[in-house]
Subunit: 384 residues, 2 copies
């Protein structure tokens, strides 16, 4: 190659997450055409794998050709009409972002907020729905705070009003318990660079019949041609022949297929359980070094451990040392948590004992602390 | 790997184009974080390489995180306001698509058309501009017909009216003469899967000061958060620290960097000249087999040779044989040309004698023709 290779990093931040060798190998398979019958087979395998991972029977399940935030744009531009009353849960940066996108789409946004670091009480979302709504959107896995949002009762509240329930599960998909059909979710988007361990560039997406019926009933096409599901679906799920829409990111689709095989081989529930164990193990180890989890019991998002940084520690300098001297990436806090919190990824191949040991050892070293107890706590939690 | 590998294909269709081994290798380099200082260096190299390839000094030059059509969405959602009068050249599918996207954005679209297979007379575009306009958009390289659109005089006509000139150069970038600043283009988008030989998933994009001034003067944010250049640029060109927007498709950016090195090593003008020679060579060879170029002299787009299929040939069956029996992809016609035209890519690594010889030999074999003369014509044109 002409260009210098990037350094090796252990990616334990908020994403991208560690990409297994076999996924990188799949990425580098020879490119074929987006209308090649051999690619159609691969698309079908990917759609099937995504359905299993979302735990949905939705035929309209596919990767949107962009990163996680493109999934948000696709969700809003297809299922929210100007003037729609949309209840939007906001308890972190990604809820804020969703509210921003909804406003851009001309929605009447009803914000239901919780402080950063806490889940939103579902009763308050349900209460807001009682006043009438066309849709409700919540962030299931809030990457900015490490909080998982309960969904109990939301689907019923939405259906009573003939409204759609839609979620952002960018960070939770395959790393935190979530069964879309069981939860009554009408549409959802995710990202590949979190628990699926695929390089960024695709947004797994699914939509059920109620959402598609709303799209079909539109009087005018949506504002985005690129994200228009009525066109995208004719390519991804076209019966009796796929119609060309845009050129799919072929090689990223190969990588996603490989990653979905890995999820399938492990099993979805076993994978969720591993993420919980990995989260608790790292939490125990970091607690011993003075980093305390922000999310209270019962609200933690397994794939993202957000912790407070001990008083007196220059967190930016410490993160920089971890990155440049140890090759380990962790992420800083965002918004009100900037400068006082860290966000540590517990995602897929990163939710394993060995990479966590590397982080704990390096961190203890930088802090001038003895790592023995922290590592013992980590090991004990993994053995449990 | 778990999953079956796709077949090897020689990609001589309308794109994706053949991806060199070193670009695939770059794609599979270890993923690092989108905020990693090492990635910031790579971003800078990519921006520099793209500026050279577009022949522009525009600081706002970057790959949009989606395929070529995402570049179209980004162009329209940033630089076209509802109610804008936009002159749109339509002489093929991609002009139609642009007109569709403009209408979705609420523009008053003034179509200036030419028949498929011909360029639009610039006088007609200039005439339409005289009646007043906010922007003009033309497709420089019409992938559906293999026609290159002259831009002479368009920039002056737009500037007189304080309007923006914007182009789609998805298929022409680095394969057909185009110097953006010299042509007075205010904004442009491309795709990586054509003459750059990178797998699909990024849309090279550039915008000059006049376009950015229009964006900055907006009273309300654009309809798309994902494509909002005022946010994207704070990540891609942020002075004194890059601000997180979305997670860039890291590995595709590696691949693009490698491809831009290849362009740089060859030199832009030499690359244009090679595409012209490759186009003429293949045209001569295919002419001997009864496939005649559709674009008249002076209107041909070097990277895409659109040809008529000889009478009596079942073009779909023949393409299928080429693909499945010979592993060679060529593309069929679109719209009014479906069933009677082929579109053959002459793009980057595909614009070489050897892959063209493979195509000509296979095609002659399928037609039951002696390939000798066609191959001789090819070789002679390459030697010229």
């Amino acid at each position: 190659m002409n260009a210098d290779a990037p350094p090796e990093r252990l990616l334990l931040g908020s994403g991208p997450s560690p990409v297994p060798r076999e996924v990188l190998d799949a990425l580098a398979l020879p490119t074929i055409g987006h209308m090649d019958p051999a690619f159609a087979e691969i698309m079908e395998e990917v759609a099937t794998g995504l359905r299993a991972t979302f735990a949905t029977a939705n035929r309209a399940t596919l990767p949107i050709s962009g990163t996680g935030s493109a999934g948000m744009d696709a969700l809003v531009s297809n299922f929210v009409d100007p003037g729609d009353r949309v209840v939007c849960g906001v308890h972190g940066l990604f809820g804020e972002r969703m509210a921003d996108q909804l406003a851009r789409a001309g929605a009447d946004v009803v914000r239901v907020e919780a402080e950063w670091g806490r889940a939103i009480e579902v009763e308050r979302l349900i209460e807001a729905a009682r006043e009438g709504l066309d849709a409700m959107v919540v962030v299931h896995g809030e990457t900015s705070t490490g909080v998982a949002q309960p969904l109990d009762g939301l689907a019923e509240a939405c259906r009573e009003r003939d409204a759609l329930l839609m979620i952002d599960c960018v960070t939770s998909l395959s790393g935190h318990p979530l069964a879309l059909d069981e939860a009554g979710v009408d549409a959802a988007f995710s990202g590949t660079q979190k628990c699926l361990n695929v390089p960024p560039g695709l947004a797994p997406f699914t939509a059920g019949e109620r959402a598609l019926a709303k799209l079909a009933a539109r009087s005018a096409p949506g504002r985005s041609w690129y994200f228009d599901l009525s066109l995208v679906l004719s390519y991804w799920t076209g019966d009796g022949g796929r119609a060309y829409h845009h050129t799919a990111p072929i090689n990223l689709v190969y990588a996603l297929r490989e990653a979905l095989c890995i999820v399938h081989d492990e099993g979805l529930e076993a994978r969720w359980a591993r993420h919980e164990r990995a989260h608790e193990a790292l939490r125990a180890a970091l607690g011993g070094l003075g980093f305390e989890r922000i999310a209270p019991e019962g609200e933690a998002l397994w794939p993202l451990l957000a912790v407070t940084v001990p008083e007196g520690v220059d967190e930016a300098a410490l993160r920089r040392s971890l990155l440049l001297d140890h090759g380990i990436e962790v992420s800083g806090g965002l918004g009100p948590m900037a400068g006082r919190a860290w966000r540590i990824g517990v995602m897929g191949a990163g939710a394993r004992r060995q990479p966590q040991r590397r982080l704990v050892s390096a961190l203890a070293g930088e802090l001038g602390a003895d790592p023995t107890d922290a590592l013992a706590a980590l090991d004990e939690a993994w053995r449990a």
